[in-house]
Amino acid sequence: MIPSSGKARAELAVLGAPAILFTLALIAFPFCYTVWLGFQKVQLGGGQSFVGAANYAHMLADPVFWSGLRVSLVLYVVSLVMQLVAGTYLALLLFNAKRMPGPLRALLISPFMLPPVVAGMMFLVVLDPSIGAANYLLQSVGLPPSDWLASPQWVVPTIALIDTWQWAPYVALIVLGGLQSLPASVYEAAQIDGASGLRTFRRITLPLLLPTLATATILRSVDLLRFFDIIYITTQGGPNDASNTLNIYGFRVGFEFFQFGYAAALAVTLTAIVLGAVLLLNQMRNAVAW
């Protein structure tokens, strides 16, 4: 409905202009500035000089970059798998239960509506190696206690666990929507065709759920690849850089070490990674669509 009158066009321009100006000023322009900044070396005193791709070269030679990339990817994959499995399991339960009473609804959305920072604070106490309830529970069933967030070995799975606690219900709701959109008559046909519960799940439910799982994957990937809040509040990237993701590293390079040029290069690289992942995942989603 693009109106043809000049007056209407003018009105549309007036309505849309503020948001467009805002977007240009606070999003588009800064975006370009950062890209440009990636090619600069910025002195603390205030000068800067064009150094071409030196920042990127430095990045590729920086062992902390590579370990950061590894941590980011491992954390991403571990969290994603945990959330998809837990979320699908929860979705199946909710689907079978058919009804969702008010208290359950409120409980389901609480984890991901919480500030991630608060989740971090919460789990700091629960997972504290000496006074935390988690170790107490482990010991009371005979399992050895863990250092959780303080252990370079276990910090990444622990953080993945915290994020899963927060976001598995979100994934579950999306997958539940997918389950509810599957035509019921297809299941009845499967019943008549003689498919048992497990076979129905493997041959019918799961393949038909793939597009929904792909959507949930894309939605979570955008956040998981840029993991920040929980790490910053709990471990700040430690212990010994074991939880130092690219996003945390980039932030610290910029605002603790004040190397703006290098931080810009890191930020641009991370953006490219996320964009690439989303495009790839989108292709995969189209491949499984029915």
Binding site: R105, L173, S181, A267, V274
Partner: protein, 271 residues
């Protein structure tokens, strides 16, 4: 064939267990906020203890908690209002014209780490002398709220039958007036949801205030870090702070839970 009763019971039991898993850390947080410093560091941790309001009294009385809360409110309400002022008209324009390149741009922006924008923003606001001002925070948080407003309201605007808007046109209503008199009243429910979600996500946002605020304008979320820093000894205070910070978003989320859940399950809520 209907599902046998024992299978239904099993489902309910499993849901119950999951409910406990979700509730447990939250409950522990609230519980711990009422523990004295001995009880909170006691091991093995206890469910039964003498509750005390000391942590809250200390938090609200001696720390700048109230100031931070006030800052958070100013920034969150301000950015929500700004998000609505910017987002509502542009959502309407997109709905009418289907030209959506600004929306695509903000979508791409969503994929960038916060640092990508913080670096230039820091420089920009430093030049303008706005570091530490509320304006810096409100403007940057609006980058979070405006897309939420657009993406909640766009389907609502799309749901208005074109014929209603055309009838308004024939009646002599200009586009701006049709937004104000016709479209907006029709999407009032969506507006409420958009405002609440914008508020929650702005309140929860950590990164920008960390860098762009000074000690006077720091928001609660960013200041939470302070509580952790010194909080390694004051667990009770940490939990009290966490409980208070979590309250507004959780209460507001409860207000829109039905909409949120139906939106997520119907695939309309893309985040």
């Amino acid at each position: 064939m209907e599902r046998p009763a024992w299978l239904r019971l099993l489902t309910v039991v499993q849901l119950g267990i999951i409910g406990i898993v979700i509730l447990a850390p939250l409950g522990w947080m609230v519980l711990s906020s009422f523990k004295s410093s001995q009880d909170v560091t006691a091991y093995p941790p206890s469910l039964i203890f003498a509750p005390t309001l000391d942590n809250y009294v200390h938090l609200l009385g001696t720390t700048p908690f109230i100031d931070y809360a006030r800052n958070s409110l100013i920034v969150t309400i301000g950015s929500t209002v700004l998000g609505i002022v910017l987002g509502v008209p542009s959502a309407y324009v997109v709905s009418l014209t289907r030209i959506s390149w600004p929306a695509l741009l903000t979508l791409a922006a969503r994929m960038a780490p916060g640092t990508l924008f913080l670096l230039p923003w820091y420089v920009m606001f430093r030049e303008l002398g706005l570091i530490g001002s509320y304006w810096a925070l409100i403007l940057t948080h609006a980058v979070i709220t405006m897309p939420i407003v657009i993406w909640v309201l766009l389907p609502s605007f799309d749901a208005i039958p074109r014929s209603v808007l055309e009838a308004a046109q024939v009646d002599g209503c200009g586009i701006i007036r049709s937004l104000w008199r016709i479209a907006l009243p029709l999407v009032s429910a969506g507006l409420v949801v958009a405002s609440i979600l914008a508020f929650v996500f702005s309140w929860n946002y950590f990164l920008f205030a960390l860098v762009l605020a000074n000690s006077e304008t720091k928001t609660l979320i960013a200041a939470a870090f302070n509580f952790v820093g010194e909080g390694s000894t004051d667990w009770g205070g940490l939990m009290a702070a966490a409980t208070l910070i979590a309250l507004p978003p959780l209460l507001l989320a409860a207000a829109v839970q039905r909409w949120l859940i139906s939106g997520l399950t119907m695939g309309a809520v893309k985040g």
